[in-house]
Each structure stands twice: as structure tokens, then as C-alpha cells.
């Protein structure tokens, strides 16, 4: 009995699914990872030098709000005129005012960029869909209905929509931002354009896939009843695919909020700009405060997007 079960386990082991490509890939990955840690490029030892830790202590002191730092250094409460608490409050109010404005602008930038990207992707996604943008939309695929010229025309429409989307998403957003900053100078609109372009490319592609993955029979039925392309799109495709589209939209928006924060570092008056500014002036307390504001913004965006996606999943129809 025991022998039997051991043999069958052996047999299972020998006949387990094996895949050479995956094995070689994993082996390569592991070797490369070990190599990357050992190769010495990382200067891991450098993280544990003693002067680093004194640096960390200095950092921990300097990220305290400035009035607290003064208090810690002088050891006295108040410097003649005011106490610690009023000064702390003045510091907080001053910081918060600017941080809120920068956070607000960052939020606006991400919303504008995503709305523009979404608008583009609705058209671009439909235009690169195999079913919608064809000479015989949702047709019976019998070639007799269409002429060669119209087939060629729709092929060109589809290819250019897809090509545009590919080009837009292949350029990383920061490269696009470099380009637009060169074009129109450092302005919020340079970042908005860069984010809108990149995300429009991604959303177009995801949107087109969602359209093509719909059950084609309903469209074909409408086609059989004599509906034209726009009628099918309006009555069947958009209502059915809209849930998917919005899911993708919110998923990308989450990422967009993050990117908008960071891209401000290129010199646009969003959070990133003031973070970079505080860093350049060595005002670490302001820097950390602004970064935390960015973190709160991202968390709020995540929460809103998760809530909206759940509602969308639950709302059928």
C-alpha cells in the first residue's frame, strides 16, 4: 500500500507539466538578480557607513517643523515675542495654504488630462475596432456587400487610429513632457498635454479591445434589422462597453494623479515643483510636508477610483 502510493507520487512528479522556456527564463532571472546584488554597482555597503547614520539623524531633525527645530536648538520657549504654539500654528497655516493650492492644481491637471484622453479614446477606440470600423460593420462578412474601395478606406481608418494610439502610448510620459516643455515652455499645459497623449494611447487600445470582445450577435441582429453604423454604436456598442471603458478610465486616472505630482518637477507649479523647490532650498520640513500632501491626494484618488469601480461593477445596465 505504502509502496503503491509512493510509486504513484513518483509518477505524478515525473509527469508534472514542464516548460523549458519558463525554466530557462526563471533561471536567468535568478542568476541576473544574484549578480545584480553582488556586482558592486549598488554600493550596498555604502548604506551602512557611520557618517550616513549621522546624516539620517540630521535628516530626522530637519524634517521637524521649523519652529520646533528652533525650539530644540535654543531650548527656550519663544524668542522674546511669541510662544512655540503660535509660531507652530503660523508655520502650519503658511505651509498648508501653499500645499493646498499646489495639490489642487495637481488634481486639476490630472482631471483635465484624463478627460481629454477619455474623449480621444472614445473616438479612437471605436475607430480602431475591427467590428465598428469596417466596411460592413457587424456584417455577415460576405464580401459581396462591400466594395474594394470602401474596404480599403476603412482599413486606412483603422490602421491610422491604431498607429496613432501605438505611437502615443509608446512615448513615455516624461519624454512627452520634455517635448511639450520645449514647445510651449514650463506650464501646467505641457504636463497636461503629455499625460493626455500617453493615456489617450493606452485608453484607445484598451477601449478597442473591449469593443471587439463584446458579444457580436446583438450588433449583428441590429444590422440585420437595417441599422446603420452610428445607430448600432449608439444603441448597442456604447451602452454595453461603457462599463468597461469607465473601469479603464478610473484605473488610469489613479496612475495619472501620481504622474501629475511627479511631472511638476519639470518646472510646473504643481506639487512636484514645490517639492523640488523646497529640496533645492534645503527646507526639508516643507519638502516632507508637501510629499505627504501628495500621498494624501493619491490615497484619496485611489479611494474614489476604487469606490467608482465597485459601483460600476455592481451597476448592471
Amino acid at each position: 500500500m505504502k509502496e503503491d502510493s509512493r510509486r504513484s507520487i513518483d509518477r505524478l512528479w515525473r509527469h508534472r507539466p514542464r516548460d523549458t522556456f519558463s525554466r530557462v527564463s526563471l533561471l536567468l532571472l535568478m542568476v541576473a538578480t544574484v549578480f545584480s546584488w553582488l556586482a558592486g554597482d549598488l554600493q550596498v555597503g555604502g548604506l551602512f557607513e557611520t557618517d550616513r547614520w549621522s546624516n539620517v539623524r540630521r535628516f530626522a531633525f530637519e524634517i521637524l517643523p521649523y519652529p520646533l527645530q528652533q525650539h530644540g536648538m535654543s531650548g527656550t520657549v519663544g524668542q522674546g515675542d511669541t510662544g512655540l504654539l503660535p509660531r507652530l500654528r503660523a508655520w502650519g497655516v503658511g505651509q498648508l495654504g501653499r500645499a493646498l493650492e499646489a495639490t489642487w492644481i495637481t488634481l486639476l491637471m490630472s482631471v483635465v488630462a484624463m478627460a481629454a484622453a477619455g474623449l480621444w479614446a472614445m473616438v479612437g477606440g471605436l475607430a480602431s475596432s475591427r467590428r465598428v470600423a469596417s466596411a460592413d460593420p457587424f456584417g455577415s462578412s460576405s464580401p459581396s456587400v462591400t466594395t474594394g474601395a470602401s474596404r480599403k478606406l476603412w482599413w486606412i481608418v483603422r490602421a491610422s487610429a491604431r498607429g496613432a494610439a501605438l505611437g502615443m502610448r509608446a512615448v513615455p510620459e516624461y519624454v512627452a513632457a520634455f517635448f511639450f516643455v520645449a514647445l510651449i515652455g514650463p506650464s501646467a499645459w505641457a504636463v497636461v498635454l503629455a499625460l493626455a497623449m500617453h493615456n489617450a494611447g493606452i485608453l484607445s487600445r484598451l477601449g478597442a479591445e473591449a469593443v471587439d470582445n463584446l458579444d457580436p450577435r446583438r450588433g449583428e441582429a441590429l444590422r440585420g434589422l437595417g441599422a446603420d453604423r452610428l445607430q448600432i454604436v449608439w444603441a448597442q456598442v456604447v451602452p454595453e462597453v461603457s462599463g468597461r471603458w469607465l473601469l479603464y478610465f478610473f484605473y488610469r486616472w489613479e496612475t495619472c494623479v501620481r504622474e501629475a505630482t511627479v511631472l511638476g518637477m519639470l518646472g510646473v507649479a504643481s506639487l512636484g515643483y514645490w517639492i523640488q523647490d523646497a529640496r533645492a532650498r534645503q527646507h526639508l520640513d516643507e519638502m516632507v510636508f508637501l510629499i505627504l500632501c501628495g500621498g494624501v491626494l493619491v490615497l484619496c484618488g485611489d479611494g474614489l477610483s476604487t469606490w467608482a469601480r465597485r459601483k460600476l461593477r455592481d451597476s448592471v445596465g
Binding site: 519558463s22 549598488l42 554600493q43 484624463m114 478627460a115 481629454a116 505630482t261 518637477m265
Partner: protein, 280 residues
Amino acid sequence: MTVGRRWTWSFRARVFGAILALGALAAWGLMVGSPPRWPTDGGWALAGEMLRAALSPTLSPEAGFETAGRGEGSVLSEALGAAQRTVTFALAGCSLALLWGLPLGLMASEVFWRLLGRRPGTCRRCARWLSAALRSIHELLWAVVLLAALGLSNGTAVLAMAIPFAGIFAKVFSELLDESPQSATFALAGAGAGPLGQVCWGLLPAALPDLGAYAVYRLECALRSSAVLGFFGFPTLGYYVAVAFENLHYREMWTHLYVMFVMVAMLEVWSASLRRRWVG
């Protein structure tokens, strides 16, 4: 017609309308602070030069006072060296993130606590909040913080990537674990396996293809992040891109960008084929 009416008043239609309205409002709000600018002649010239340079990337440094000491054809060797370091940083950051993300992901999942026979209480909530906090700050901002705290060392870049990635791994892994088929854990429990055995031999193997596929996808993201971290002075591709951009050496910039595109594309093809094998 009924289809149309149902659609018009559905929740989704209202969300569509809200997005468009908010987008227009936000555009208006943004215009108050920073009026949209049309490109000036100088802007067109600069952008045109940048685009033209894309057609003629260079292998030799472009003329300028800062090219002293850089030999003929050194741009490519710089780019390849930077590419190698970019991969090194990405692998190190990703592996470190995996090391922390997997346990955190287990703790943030519901099924893990069910297998341990406890209610997912404070511990799970703490793990979830921790992972949210870690990932709410972009890796570039972590780099800014860590640079101020630790100074410029390549280990700083790895840490800056590993921290938010660990948070993302924890979040996604916990969701994948909760959604993975759990029949094996029930079978193991029926055969008398303890909680640890159920986790190691029932839960993790069943979820492994999904977890692996996501980890490989994340490696792609790590490669891009690692390149971008160069903007802060780490010796990855982004550093050379930024330096070339600031010196208006657009042809050099494109050489580095092309090396990066090729590298990212190669990894994407590879990881896509791996993911197809694992999750279909």
C-alpha cells in the same frame, strides 16, 4: 428606443457626463492660474530640432565645452553601460520589494487569516494601511526623501524603488490570493494538514502562476522607473537623457532613448510570453 432610454439615464451615463463636466471645469480652473500658451517661434524651432534629431541619433558626443574627455563613439558605450546599470537596479529593487511584498500581501489577504483560524482583525487592517501608505508615494518622491536622508548612493535608488513596489505587491498579491482557487487548502485541511502546510502547499502553489505573472509585469515597470530615477543623478539611462536634454544635445538624447526603447521592448516581449504561458 428602450435600449437608448435605459442607457441615457443609467448610472454610467451620469458618470460619463460628470467626467466631461468636471474635465471642462478643471480646464477652466487651470486656465485661470496658467493661461494656455501657444508655442512661440523659438518653441517651434526647439521642438522641430528635437524631432529632427530623432532621425539622426549620434554615437559620438556632440560639440560643446562639456564633451572634453569623451572620445569618438563613446555615446553608445555610455548608453550600454547605463542600460546594464538600469537592469541591475530594476532587478535588485524588484527582488527586494518581492521579499517584503509577499509576506505583507499574505497578511493583507483574507484567506491567510482564515487558514490560520483567526478573524482577520487588526493585523490585516495594519498590513493594508501600511501597504497603502508605502505605495501612495511615488518612487521618485521616495528617491527625493531618501536622497536627503542617506545621500547619493546607488543603494538609495534600489530602496526608493523597493518601498513603493513592496506596497503595490502587497496590495495586488492579497487580491490575487483571495481570488485564487482554494479547493486544495480544503483538501489539505481534510487530510489533517496544519495551517502552515495549507498555506505553503495549498494556497501559494495555486496562486503561483498569477503571482509570478504579476511579478514579471512589475519588473517591466521597475525597468522604466529605474531608468527615470536617473533624473536625480543615479547612473541609469535617465541621467544621460536629462544631461543631454539640458545641454540641448538632442541627437545624443535620442541615442539613449532608443537604447531604452529597445531594452524595454525586449523585456516586454519576453515577459508577455512568460505571462501567456502562466496565466493563459
